[in-house]
Symmetry: C2
Subunit: 188 residues, 2 copies
Amino acid sequence: MILTRYYLGMTNRDEISALLDRLTRLHAAGRRVGDLNEVQRAALDYLSRANRFSRAPSAVADYLAATRGTVSQTLRSLARKGLVAETASSEDRRVRRYDLTPEGVATLATTAPAARPGLTDAETQDIAEALRNLVRSEIAANGGRSFGLCRTCRHHVSTAEGSHCALLKLALLPEEADQICHEHRAAA
Amino acid sequence: MILTRYYLGMTNRDEISALLDRLTRLHAAGRRVGDLNEVQRAALDYLSRANRFSRAPSAVADYLAATRGTVSQTLRSLARKGLVAETASSEDRRVRRYDLTPEGVATLATTAPAARPGLTDAETQDIAEALRNLVRSEIAANGGRSFGLCRTCRHHVSTAEGSHCALLKLALLPEEADQICHEHRAAA
DNA sequence: TCTTGATAGTATCGAGTCGATATTATTGCA
DNA sequence: TGCAATAATATCGACTCGATACTATCAAGA
């Protein structure tokens, strides 16, 4: 397979940036489905995979590298469309949580990502790993949060009854260990 | 190096989409430099690497998966800022070409992509290849154009005096063989 | 307890992008 | 000559963007 390089005189760093410039545009275009734009779709997808501590506007803002003001509007737009519902937090009265409604779940299901033609399983595997590396480096460069799975966090503790979070000092529901957490820190 | 997967139950395809959702946002945030937004910056970068046949609004629109209307405004915005200048095509009076001004070149140079910390040379190489694959598959899925380098095109012909394009039936300047072409089709 | 500072979220601003649609030139083909 | 295709722009409402200002709430220290 011949792989066309974009610019022969480019460093790998510059080429990655140039490729990302285009790739992010191509990806974004494919993510505008129905009456959702790219950001709304990404926020909805995030909310569907985040645990109950991580569905607040500020967590979405951190995850999507957006300001709180913008995310506030995005979530309001999703709520207007009936795809998410706002819930007040019981512990901290400043915090609001946005959960998917059944309509939100259905919307997500009917707009699943398209298959990627022309890629072997091995290539797909390599691409996933490369993207994980790239996200990790992007986060390191900008001081963002990792937002990994609860199960892979240094604060996750498995017990006989189930598991709990040593940071929040809370018992976890079985499914929560496989959800994204705002407070995630990679195990040492 | 432990690589946190986003969702253990996810297929690679879904994981790639989820990773791209976030990576797109992180990359875009890093590309908003000075008074340029992500799209303006990407368009400016494209124009700096495209050959003279590929600097028209419609080519930029194809490259960035945007509509002509949007690109028209983007280029107008860049022109207002003095970073590009409009030139009428001599062959086809419908076509306009946008070339970088010296200010545009300087802006591009002073906003070069940041280094990617925490990545080895080997990882960087792998990532570049994975992204090339991903772009290729995205194009295949949506019927877009490849936009490769002139030199790697099936219409590129090397001669004793230099090179020429068999599609446009034109002699090429020496530097044009290493620029991006709108009409690019990968060599067979 | 009172104050102070940090945090969570919203409201608002102008600039710009988005898709969609319509319109004007211009080209090329029948 | 006529007609369809192409290139580009103009305009519309919805939305994102960063920036700024604002309110509400929490937490920690005097």
